[in-house]
């Protein structure tokens, strides 16, 4: 007789930061079946975008889908709108947008690393990374005027320009951050007790990663070459020294390494951006009403973010579809859990960096 026990994990759980529920079917300590329920925080943002707000107001609305990806949501939306109303954004605005996206990536990855440390039982490291993360938050506040809700991009460009003073401040802060990240890197690499929690745990093969459409750091840790930055030429990523970061192990350790290396490469990219921001307008005039269909993709910290828009020559859009990275990541996550020990679940889940307010929107 097969004896299994069902253990619910969430929607409220001490090691869970987000309202999601997993139903684990376990045999002794081993997980044999998983069900995920993600619909706890559905807020009807897509409905609001097509019934309450005009298309020019939506960048502020979708920014509030998720606090961590505020910039990527509004930016992807804005990119999609710009395609249907034919606005050409200046090079300068593109550079400033890239700058914010890369800063966003750094702080989001640091948040994820800190939670992975915490859920593996390393509270002090969690505190340390969160404290270092403040450096990036301060930079973002200096650029956009707010810590979390940047409202920085708008249709046609960006809202605020960058001054020499801020450029100096950013470079100084990044130079301060770099050794700290290297310290943390060293810790994740060489700490023996952390390696017990990370190495070989929660692994996914490259084959499975592409069957279940994993994306972002989750896929790159398994060696699957997927990154929107390399798959579109909307932004001049090659010019500023973008390299795809890949690991082969696919486990928590691999995902942490991908994130840490991406932070370091983002720091380099930001320095390059700051060196050669071109001259130009930051904002172009926008005329007309959107008419037609368009799609836009962008690499958010957690993976590909996707917007589909349809306009019918009215101020209100006809359809706004948001596809967030965690939403497409769920099938791969469910797959990874199978065969793992129940005790490792918190650390594995944190290493996915799930964002439920994005997923259910």
């Amino acid at each position: 007789m097969k004896k299994t026990i069902n253990i619910p994990y969430g929607s409220q759980h001490i090691a869970l930061l987000e309202p999601v529920r997993f139903q684990f079917e376990t045999q002794n300590e081993k997980i044999v079946g998983v069900k995920a329920d993600i619909g706890y925080v559905h807020r009807g943002i897509e409905k609001a975008c097509t019934s309450t707000f005009e298309y020019k107001q939506i960048p502020s609305v979708v920014a509030r889908v998720c606090g961590l990806c505020a910039i990527t949501h509004s930016l992807t939306y804005v990119m999609a709108v710009e395609q249907i109303i034919d606005v050409n954004v200046s090079e300068k605005a593109k550079y400033l947008r890239m700058l914010m996206v890369e800063l966003d990536r750094i702080h989001s990855h640091m948040l994820c690393l800190s939670h992975t440390a915490e859920n593996a039982g390393y509270e002090a490291l969690f505190m340390q990374i969160m404290a270092d993360r403040e450096i990036i938050m301060d930079i973002q506040e200096a650029i956009s005027g707010n810590r979390v809700q940047f409202d920085f991009v708008c249709i046609g460009g960006v809202n605020r320009d960058i001054t020499d003073e801020i450029v100096k401040f950013i470079i100084k802060s990044l130079n301060e951050l770099q050794p700290k990240i290297e310290d943390i890197f060293d810790m994740f690499e060489n700490n023996w007790s952390l390696s017990l929690k990370y190495k070989g745990i929660g692994a996914i093969t490259k084959e499975n990663a592409s069957i279940y459409n994993a994306l972002g750091p989750l896929a790159r840790a398994a060696g699957l070459e997927t990154d929107v930055r390399a798959e579109s030429d909307y932004y001049p990523y090659e010019k500023i020294g973008y390299k795809m970061i890949l690991e082969q192990t696919g486990d928590i350790y691999g995902r942490n390494r991908v994130r840490l290396r991406e932070i370091l490469s983002s720091i380099d990219m930001i320095k390059n951006i700051l060196c050669d921001i071109p001259e130009g307008n930051i904002i172009e005039k926008v005329k007309g009403k959107p008419n037609g269909e368009s799609v836009a993709r962008l690499e958010a910290p957690r993976g590909e973010i996707f917007y589909y828009l349809k306009g019918v020559k009215q101020a209100m859009l006809d359809r706004v579809r948001t596809k967030t990275p965690t939403f497409s990541g769920i099938p791969a996550m469910v797959e990874i859990f199978k065969g793992q020990e129940y005790g490792d679940v918190p650390a594995i889940l944190a290493s996915f960096d799930p964002c439920m307010s994005c997923t259910a929107k």
């Binding site: 619909g39 097509t50 798959e231 497409s328």
Partner: protein, 113 residues
């Protein structure tokens, strides 16, 4: 976006002839209400390539049922589930209730409502 039309009978054949998990990244399933019928879109992107997004689409009546592509793309159940919830369309073997509860408003993105 490159659009290719299909219909509910040929959908599974078309997608399985087209989709190879090593080459194509499945993005999502999307629904658009056209006012009197539904358009269901299946979006794909090639890995490591700067080509456009490829979109297979079909139009259907509200009451009709279309087949599911889960047998070809196992992770499609989420995207299809969302379309089922948001538009109240029927897709074979995809239950309701991924995002909405039983007692919440049904099919919120349907235009007639």
């Amino acid at each position: 976006m490159k659009k290719i039309e299909t219909n509910s009978e040929n959908l599974k054949d078309d997608i399985s002839a087209f989709y190879d998990y090593k080459i194509w990244h499945y993005i999502t399933v999307n629904g658009v209400d056209l006012g009197d019928k539904m358009e269901i879109q299946y979006l794909f992107k090639k890995y490591g390539n700067k080509e456009e997004v490829v979109c297979y689409f079909l139009t259907m009546d509200y009451e009709k049922e279309i087949p599911s592509i889960v047998s070809i793309i196992p992770s499609a159940y989420l995207g299809e589930g969302e379309v089922v919830d948001m538009f109240g369309v029927k897709i074979k073997e995809i239950p309701k209730g991924l995002l909405l509860e039983e007692d919440s408003c049904q099919a919120p993105l349907r235009k007639a409502q």
